[in-house]
């Protein structure tokens, strides 16, 4: 039996540590620990709720926008502001662009090197690479000369002797299984994706002034003016620019990203039965297609228990609770209890070893993440959860169509979705569905302009004197990495309490009081490890969730009911 520590887990956002026990060539137990804490929710107390989105957005710069969205929705719910149609379309475009760009960057720049051996690409035959590329896609950059050029570029880089960020990779590891030609193809697309993401995210600059950390959000709407007859507004010139960038996005996702995922997956089909984990999946739903409350959502909400795709349960916020039995926080009610976000408490209390340390005591508290549970059980959230809920719901129909196509291309059944590979495939399919749907929201903006509807903001609720003296609200969003919720309580125009329950907290959280592992921890059990000194396979399963630790940690729960506050005192 060997104890493996992977710290830092690189190619993620933030600071993650994984400890695992390996026996007989596979992981038998694993522990996920987040090792960074800032306390942004404490910092939000006492501030103007209209400013909260800017603070909350800084929880994460990779999935920028997501905490801003959840924040403005929570405050709007509390004060009763209703964003107009243009704001809804703008937000849908911003959210979809974030998901699409984030998924592409995750696959090529954060995850691909777990499957693609860069060094092997040096031995590829460019002509065969060209044939391979043309057999999976009609993407035009596929000539022998093109791949020979990429290969020369990598050779030059390697010959220089300074491998920079590629130094000390697990090159030559037996778990790498792609032929040299597929490796060269993937390396070429790694470089193309680096340029594509820069282009595509200009959508955010057009709609939000800049990326990362867009700056056009407002409680009650958006700050981006809409007027076809004004130079300083979104007008037909910008509509045309958006159209072009979206077309560019559809082309890259459907002709490069999705074919690459399927091609690479075909060499790693055993990973369709590895890394399933807990098998419960939750999605809050996203992309309102109507204005106002209870609008129909493009991606439906729902819960799937125990991998049973025949039933979808409703999501009830009251059933969410967070646990700190293995987290560096104290609860006044005792650390063996879970608390609903509305009764949550925050008292950071580090009890781990003093740094520098070699080993965490995982029998005690071992993470800055809490353990969220739904109705007492862990939930996996993210693209796979969204895709499964949509697939099982039968809408949007395009989800079932693309999932079935991918499954038949790989020659596997739906059970293959519950796996490390399933997460990767679901992310790619979701990117395609979202980038294809963006055009509808651009058309929505154009139609409003045609009706001379230029409203972007509910100005009736901008002045704090229009708010109730005491109010509370929750805002929900499906971020790239999964279900995100913010809760806010406002008293006399300032934030009394603020709380977030975040996708990477759901997925990366530690064991709960009953000892049940979180989704990462459960998914790692059974993951093969050929060489404990080079735990490449552990990275594959952890990266398949797309960890975002600055988001997950958190997330100080500061929401207290009066009764709880009394008890604390």
């Amino acid at each position: 039996m060997a104890r493996i520590v992977v710290d830092p887990v690189s190619r993620i956002e933030g600071h993650l540590r994984v400890e695992a026990e390996v026996d007989g060539g596979a992981v038998t137990q694993a522990w996920s620990s987040s090792t960074m804490f800032r306390g942004i929710e404490l910092i939000l107390r006492g501030r103007d709720p209209r400013d909260a989105w800017a603070f909350a957005q800084r929880i994460c710069g990779v999935c920028t926008t997501v905490h801003a969205i959840a924040s403005i929705r929570a405050v709007e719910k509390a004060i009763g502001a209703v964003p107009p149609s243009n704001a809804r379309q703008l937000r849908n475009l911003i959210m979809a662009a974030q998901n699409v760009q984030d998924h592409v960057v995750h696959f090529y720049h954060l995850h691909a090197l777990d499957w693609v051996d860069v060094v092997s690409a040096l031995g590829a035959d460019p002509a065969k690479t060209s044939s391979l590329a043309q057999s999976i896609s009609d993407w035009p950059l596929s000539s022998t000369n093109y791949f020979a050029g990429v290969q020369d570029r990598i050779k030059t880089f390697v010959q220089r002797g300074q491998l920079g960020p590629f130094a000390n990779g697990y090159w030559g590891h037996p778990a790498y299984r792609l032929p040299p030609e597929a490796n060269l193809l993937a390396v070429a697309h790694y470089l193309e994706a680096l340029e594509w993401q820069r282009r595509f995210i200009k959508i955010h600059a057009i709609l939000g002034g800049k990326n990362p950390h867009l700056q056009s959000f407002l409680v009650g709407g958006m700050a981006t003016p809409v007027d076809p007859d004004a130079q300083s507004s979104l007008n037909m010139e910008t509509i045309a620019a958006l159209d072009k960038l979206i077309a560019d996005g559809i082309a890259f996702v459907s002709r490069v990203y999705v074919p690459d995922v399927l091609a690479i997956a075909s060499f790693y089909k055993d990973w369709a039965s590895i890394g399933a984990g807990i098998g419960n999946y939750m999605c809050y739903g996203e992309y309102p297609e109507e204005d106002g409350e209870n609008a129909r959502l493009f991606l439906p909400a729902g819960i799937i228990y125990g991998r049973d795709l025949t039933k979808i349960a409703n999501v009830d916020q009251a059933k969410i609770s967070e646990w700190v039995a293995h987290s560096w926080y104290d609860y006044s009610v005792g650390d063996d209890k879970g608390l609903n976000p509305y009764q949550g408490e925050t008292k950071p209390h580090y009890t781990g070893p003093k740094p520098p340390y070699e080993r965490l005591d995982v029998a005690q508290k071992y993470s800055w993440l809490k353990s969220p549970r739904y109705d007492g059980v862990p939930m996996e959230v993210g693209p796979l959860a969204r895709t499964l809920v949509a697939y099982a719901s039968g809408r949007p129909a395009r989800v079932k169509e693309l999932v079935d196509k991918a499954l038949s291309t790989l020659g596997v059944g739906p059970e293959a979705l519950f796996s490390t590979l399933g997460r990767i495939a679901a992310r790619a399919i979701e990117a395609q569905i979202l980038v294809e749907s963006m055009d509808n929201w651009v058309r929505g903006l154009a139609e409003n302009m045609g009706r001379h509807d230029y409203r972007i903001q509910d100005n009736s609720k901008w002045d704090p004197s229009s708010w109730p003296s005491d109010c509370a609200g929750a805002g929900f969003h499906e971020a790239p990495r999964g279900s995100l919720g913010h809760w806010v309580r406002i008293g006399n125009g300032t934030i009394v309490n603020y709380q977030c329950v975040v996708p990477s907290t759901w997925n990366a959280g530690p064991r709960d009081a009953a000892g049940h592992p979180g989704p990462y921890e459960a998914a790692l059990v059974g993951t093969p490890v050929a060489n404990p000194e080079q735990p490449l396979e552990i990275l594959r399963t952890v990266h398949s969730f797309d960890p975002c630790m600055a988001c997950g940690v958190h997330v100080v729960d500061t929401m207290k009911r009066e009764v709880a506050r009394v008890r604390v005192m």
Partner: protein, 363 residues
């Protein structure tokens, strides 16, 4: 190591010498150099060995890393990435765990006093450093070792430069800037903003490679080429400010036609950065261009001093700049700004005119 010509490498990558010189000209513009500087930049990039870079992330959101990935002139930016040997960067590197830490240790050991370190995120001092650990070591321990042995340290983004959001009231983790975490750190340069603009990060690196010294800095150790003027000075809506044409309500006609956002809370008059000139995402747009006020993100403690964001400047707690719209107040502010700018320009001119002998302090 095989000696390798950058020109050859450019050609290998399908980048013509003309494209390369265009890039150098663009860099010269960002840096505020005369046109003739482009040749000097080209000569410097072509002639020099590749400096080693280490990028550390502490209490961060990776927003500066993402910003860096958006650098313009993409093909040549790739070259610049390769031109620099980026030996450690948690978000981008292939290695993980002990292999990643080994790469860092070896780089520091073999290149002590020679590498440049970029730091993203603040550094917590509370709980014995346990609010941020990597490989079991605290951010504080890592920063002191890695920055302490560097030729220069660049604090990228407001968190590393000034403590940023983790240090905002009530600063639950005792977060501090690099300057405060590593007392006496050599050649520290702050590149604040939330996040720092990719263009300014690249320009700073090119500046160093071209001139073999670090640029003149302002009071807060920010390079004058990027922070020597206020947003307000360069704002495309300055004429509306001067004419008294203001946005009064979100989405009103004034808002749609690009009037001044001062009354909606714009912090441009109190914020030094070059956003209006270089903009963001390949010059596509910037916050004011998108109809939202500047929030002052390049200034120290802006989360506390520039909030509430939607209140106009005179009412911002801790920032008592006076009555902006009042002609007397405007005059005073103008004088202060002018003094900073004139000082900056003369500083640049002095250094530019100076010979190598006069530059010993930058070595």
């Amino acid at each position: 190591m095989i000696a390798h010509s950058v020109t050859q490498e450019l050609e290998d990558r399908g980048i013509s010498r003309r494209d390369f010189l265009q890039f150098c000209t663009a860099m010269a513009v960002v840096l505020g150099f005369p046109d003739s500087a482009a040749q000097a930049i080209a000569a410097a990039i072509e002639g020099e060995p590749r400096p080693i870079l280490i990028w550390l992330e502490f209490q961060d959101c990776a927003g500066n890393t993402e910003s860096f990935l958006r650098a313009t002139h993409p093909t040549v930016a790739d070259l610049i990435l390769d031109t620099i040997s980026l030996n450690y960067h948690e978000t981008l590197m292939a290695a993980a765990g002990s292999q990643a830490e080994a790469a860092l240790a070896q780089t520091v050991r073999d290149n002590a006093g020679k590498y440049v370190v970029l730091v993203e995120g603040s550094i917590p001092t509370g709980a014995d450093g346990a609010y941020c650990t990597i490989g079991g070591r605290s951010a504080l321990q890592i920063a002191r070792e890695v920055c302490g042995n560097a030729a220069a340290t660049i604090a990228v983004g407001t968190c590393a430069a000034f403590g940023g959001i983790p240090a905002a009231r009530p600063n639950p983790t005792g977060a501090v800037s690099v300057a405060d975490a590593v007392p006496g750190v050599k050649n520290l340069i702050n590149l604040p903003a939330c996040p720092a603009n990719a263009e300014n990060i690249t320009a700073l690196i090119v500046y160093y490679m071209t001139l073999k010294r670090w640029p003149p800095l302002d009071l807060y150790r920010r390079p004058l080429f990027a922070y020597g003027k206020t947003i307000h000075d360069n704002c495309e809506r300055r004429a509306q400010f001067d004419a008294g044409q203001y946005v009064e309500s979100w989405g009103d006609e004034a808002h749609r036609h690009g009037y001044c956002l001062y009354k909606m809370g714009c912090k441009g008059p109190a914020t030094s950065q070059n956003c209006p000139s270089i903009k963001w995402n390949e010059g596509t747009n910037w916050p004011v261009g998108c109809g939202h006020p500047c929030i002052g993100c390049a200034e120290p403690n802006f989360w506390d001093t520039m909030t509430p964001f939607y209140q106009r400047l005179p009412n911002v707690a801790g920032f008592n700049v006076g009555r902006w719209v009042d002609p007397v107040g405007l005059g005073l502010t103008g004088l202060v700004t002018a003094a900073v700018v004139v000082h900056g320009v003369s500083e640049v001119a002095r250094r530019r005119a100076g010979t190598d002998q006069s530059e010993s302090e930058s070595k």
